[in-house]
């Protein structure tokens, strides 16, 4: 019986996610916020509350309504619906975890140190502007709202890191990938990705290490040691990674690469080191082999399926009741402050790449989307509840980042889609102010 229920639950999960993805695609939006909202709606906090509603008083704007008990054919409709509510079963939790691992594995796989070094000047400058402006503002917002330093660092990460997945997809969908703005956008994302790997390693040690400074320092030491060991493995073991996949059929490529990646990530987690960072380094190790192309082709659908579970799980464990007025206010304030900040730092990044005003504006608009990495930091904050962070603070940071990602992913994609309406207004404004010579425009 348990197996049957579990299978139905997983089926329900994927069906709901598929439906949400279909809807998102229909209205040209990123799928991520839709996955999260569906998770929230199907979770115990929304759907699971339905049975309790029957026969109870609900106060809506001063007027009290008694929710009637609706029965069809002898079954209580609300109870039946509530019975469908999904909980964060082991499958969902481990599936979400694999989603994180595969997301970071791909970062490592597509991360090319030589490529980064080849254009280190421009990527370095644009990325540093992006880091200083947005991480700085995030620190400020986080400290003002939550008070603590660790909370501020978490909020800074959530606010700083743009969504590689959504931005890259939008670039391809809009055809910007062929234009000059693609390079500063993707280059800055690479800088952010490298930063997030180091950031996750240190912050997860801090979050899980607890209040005790000595313990936290110990955790950081373990994390750094583990990273150094992995780096060594990446440099020395490239022959090993090459041999792991040599001559393998597609089946073996999938099974062996997962075997290595998930095992290393799992061991890292067991040692109290960020599994995401471990996966990033394993990805980097594979990136120096001849199998990058096969791995990308074969594992991408797998990554997308598990990433969907990850976003669904994020929604599932989000209690809408956590969106108190103060959290909503924080989300709104953060959106109002950080959207222009990203736009400005992106604009400057475009300028560093010698782009004209119009394309630099596009870089700015493109960078505003936040997504999967903010959520990974959010889940990290949640796992630190009770150790490094006080539970209410962790809950609030979590709710903040879920709401923030919902807003910023929709806003960012929309800004990119409607850039043709923003450019005619913004270009003369900026060129007038900074005295730039107007450039030829093709529209």
């Amino acid at each position: 019986m348990a197996t049957e229920t579990a299978l139905v639950d997983v089926g329900l999960l994927f069906a709901a996610v598929a439906l949400a993805g279909f809807l998102a695609d229909r209205i040209d939006q990123s799928v991520i916020p839709f996955y999260i909202v569906v998770g929230m709606l199907l979770g115990s906090n929304v759907l699971g509350e339905l049975p309790a509603l029957a026969g109870s008083d609900v106060t809506v704007g001063g007027a009290s309504i008694v929710v009637p008990e609706i029965t069809v054919g002898g079954t209580d409709v609300l109870t039946a619906l509530g019975g469908l509510a999904l909980t964060d079963t082991d499958f969902v939790v481990v599936g979400a975890e694999i989603g994180i691992v595969l997301l970071l594995f791909f970062l490592g796989l597509e991360f090319n140190l030589d490529r980064l070094l080849a254009s280190k000047n421009r990527i370095g400058k644009a990325g540093t502007v992006d880091l200083v402006v947005n991480f700085g503002i995030g620190l400020l917002v986080g400290y003002l709202v939550f008070g603590g330093l660790l909370a501020a660092v978490l909020v800074a990460g959530i606010v700083y890191i743009s969504s590689s997945a959504i931005i890259t997809k939008s670039l391809i969908d809009l055809g910007w990938i062929a234009n000059d703005e693609a390079e500063p956008l993707l280059g800055t994302l690479v800088y952010e990705d490298l930063f997030i790997a180091v950031y996750l390693a240190i912050v997860s040690a801090l979050v899980l290490g607890g209040d005790d400074l000595g313990a936290a320092a110990g955790e950081v030491a373990i994390a750094v040691g583990f990273i150094v060991a992995l780096l060594g493995l990446v440099t020395v073991g490239s022959g090993f990674f090459q041999r792991v996949l040599a001559g393998a059929t597609t089946e073996f490529v999938v099974v062996r690469s997962l075997g290595v990646t998930i095992l290393v990530a799992g061991i890292a987690l067991a040692l109290g080191v960020s599994e995401a960072v471990a996966a990033f380094f394993v990805g980097m190790a594979f990136s120096s082999t001849d199998h990058v192309h096969d791995l990308e082709r074969l594992l991408e659908p797998l990554r997308d399926a598990f990433a969907a579970i990850f976003f669904f799980w994020i929604g599932l464990v989000t209690d809408p009741a956590l969106f108190s007025l103060s959290v909503l206010g924080t989300i709104l304030a953060a959106a109002i402050v950080t959207t222009p900040a990203k736009a400005v730092s992106g604009y400057l990044g475009g300028r560093i790449y010698d782009l004209d005003t119009r394309r630099s504006i596009r870089v700015g608009l493109g960078m505003t989307t936040r997504g999967e990495f903010s959520l990974i930091i959010a889940s990290l904050a949640l796992s630190g509840a009770g150790t490094g962070l006080e539970t209410p603070v962790a809950d609030q940071i979590y709710a903040f980042s879920v709401g923030y990602v919902l807003v910023m992913s929709v806003l960012g994609t929309s800004l990119m889609q409607h850039s043709s309406r923003i450019e005619p207004v913004a270009v003369p404004l900026l060129e007038g102010r900074f005295g730039d010579s107007p450039r030829a425009s093709d529209d």
Binding site: A118, A178, A182, E296
Partner: protein, 165 residues
């Protein structure tokens, strides 16, 4: 002509080819193998997407553009299926083939590989059907019927110098 090459981290590579009149052809090669082709009216303009191709299709189109694809007879392309597992194929005879200069009867091709030679094209002349006395000459094109394995075996018998026609 200048070609600009740049990396698109996480996506693939981009090539920009300068055309006449300042137009630019932009080819984005995705890591997945997909190619997207855009046309820009000038260097500063946005790209208009023309089409995209799968990896395999892109290679085929590429060889056509290169002028390397069109050849009157090319074994891999002219093979014709007869029924489920029977192929009708063309093979050229080079001087590497050990049966060049032999009569069909002494070459023992059918016994050795299982394929039947149904016709021989020699210059403008078609010998169909060849008799056991017909001598195979260098430069002949043999029209052969057999299943896939037999054809492969026959191709091997043609010798190392065989590269299709």
């Amino acid at each position: 002509m200048t070609i600009y090459e740049s990396d698109l981290p996480g996506v693939g590579k981009k090539f920009e080819v300068e055309l006449e009149d300042g137009e630019r052809l932009v080819i984005v090669t995705h890591n997945t193998g997909k190619r997207e082709v855009f046309l820009k009216p000038d260097a500063d303009a946005d790209g208009d997407k023309l089409f995209d191709l799968s990896d395999r299709l892109a290679r085929t189109v590429g060889t056509i553009l290169e002028g390397a694809y069109f050849q009157p007879v090319q074994t891999e392309q002219v093979e014709t299926m007869l029924g489920d597992e029977t192929y009708l194929e063309w093979y050229g005879v080079t001087d590497e083939s050990d049966f060049a200069g032999q009569r069909l009867a002494e070459s023992n091709i059918r016994e050795r590989t299982g394929v039947s030679i149904v016709a021989i094209q020699r210059d403008d002349e078609l010998i169909s059907p060849p008799t056991p006395e017909t001598v195979i000459e260098v430069g002949d094109t043999l029209v052969v019927i057999g299943d896939r394995e037999d054809c492969a075996e026959f191709e091997e018998l043609l010798g190392d110098g065989y590269e299709g026609e």
